[in-house]
């Protein structure tokens, strides 16, 4: 699959815009999900994920072929979301948490498209709860926990994506794990 992407990137670099569509559809779920977990808001997440792909396209010539494309793409997406969180003004979103509830937003009132209802309802509740608990972590721990356990990057790759030293990644992942352990111990 890597070879497929490398080939597509080459075509994009040569000016074939349509080859980029394959790159987008290959990574769209991962990047969208990453943005959603970082931002906790579907609308913003879609915006930022689109922006990430557009930036990747515009700057494709600065991408070094010898490196991993996914690392580069995640780096763009992560930087965008972190910027967004910093600039964030207090605002109301459909998917903001409903006051007085835990982990419930307006979207949780809508049907989810991907999982079947019925017997899976309970496990879906749990998954949603875990997602919520992760989203409550401070950004610097959350991003690393997500990249490590949900997107399965190595610590070295995370250090590249976030542009921070490996040692810092390790310290933060320890703290992130401890924080989540306390939050999830009663599950």
């Amino acid at each position: 699959m890597d070879q497929f992407i490398i080939e597509k990137i080459k075509q994009v670099k040569k000016g074939d815009q349509s080859a980029f569509a394959d790159v987008v559809s290959f990574y769209q779920d991962k990047i969208y999900q990453h943005c959603l977990r970082m931002l906790g808001n579907a609308h913003e997440a879609e915006d930022m994920a689109q922006e990430a792909f557009i930036r990747a396209y515009v700057n494709i010539h600065s991408f070094d072929d010898r490196r991993k494309f996914s690392t580069w793409l995640y780096r763009i997406a992560t930087n965008l979301t972190i910027d967004r969180i910093r600039k964030r003004k207090p605002d109301y979103y459909l998917d903001a948490e409903i006051r007085g509830t835990e982990g419930l937003d307006m979207y949780s009132q809508l049907a989810s498209e991907e999982r079947l209802p019925g017997e899976q309802v309970e496990s879906l509740e749990l998954q949603r709860y875990i997602h919520h608990e992760i989203s409550q972590l401070p950004v610097k721990y959350r991003s690393i926990i997500m990249l490590r356990y949900l997107e399965e990057f190595s610590l070295q790759e995370i250090s590249d994506i976030l542009d921070i030293p490996l040692g810092t990644v390790k310290t933060r992942i320890h703290r992130g794990r401890e924080a989540l352990r306390k939050r999830l111990r009663h599950v």
Partner: protein
């Protein structure tokens, strides 16, 4: 509770795959005896499993299309740049051509300046270059922006640019110039027009190249 802090550190190293053999044994033997640490370790591992089972999300259906619609159309400049990159030989030829043209125009427009090739035998009077009687000038002669009067002999080609060949008895003997006024042992060429000048430059350039 010092054991706790130390062994928790080891647990995290274990989870990152950073544990060496020695430390692994140390952690294992400690876990066998310490229930609190065992519990902690179990919770950590369980946390990771739980994290991995967090809800998954898929991008909206029309996501790719939306991105493609928002991509900037390629700028002309970019297209040119890429073309230059992919056709280096043509680019080099184009640059060479432009430089040569500007060089030509520059040397053409050095107007009014009398330019003569460097033979000592040539005598210059005002804007007239004279080959004195009985003198043989070796090599090719170039006269630019001036008149040339040949009384002696030139042992080579003569090129007149933007100039005129005159003779003493021009009025008397207009066309018998070569015969009456000394001789030119080579070609005589007069260049008056820009186009001819270019042609001359090209010719001399290529004859220069091929003489190597």
């Amino acid at each position: 509770m010092k054991c706790n802090k130390e062994s928790v550190e080891l647990m995290h190293k274990y989870l990152d795959g950073d544990l060496c053999k020695e430390e692994e044994i140390q952690l294992r033997t400690h876990l066998e005896t310490c229930e609190a640490c065992q519990h902690h370790f179990h919770e950590l591992k369980r946390t990771i499993t739980l994290i991995k089972s967090a809800e998954h999300f898929a991008a909206p259906n029309d996501f790719t299309q939306k991105v493609m619609d928002r991509l900037p159309t390629e700028k002309k400049r970019v297209t040119y740049k890429r073309w230059f990159k992919t056709h280096p030989v043509l680019t080099a030829a184009a640059i060479f051509f432009v430089l040569m043209m500007t060089g030509m125009f520059a040397s053409w427009s050095e107007d009014g300046q009398l330019v003569v090739s460097k033979q000592e035998e040539l005598v210059i009077q005002g804007d007239t270059v004279i080959v004195p009687e009985g003198v043989t000038v070796p090599g090719d002669v170039l006269v630019k922006n001036g008149k040339l009067l040949i009384k002696g002999t030139i042992d080579g080609n003569v090129t007149l640019v933007n100039g005129k060949l005159i003779s003493d008895d021009e009025t008397l003997n207009g066309d018998g110039l070569m015969a009456s006024a000394g001789g030119v042992n080579g070609e005589l060429e007069t260049v008056d027009q820009m186009f001819e000048w270019m042609w001359y430059q090209l010719k001399s350039f290529f004859s220069g190249v091929f003489s190597f």
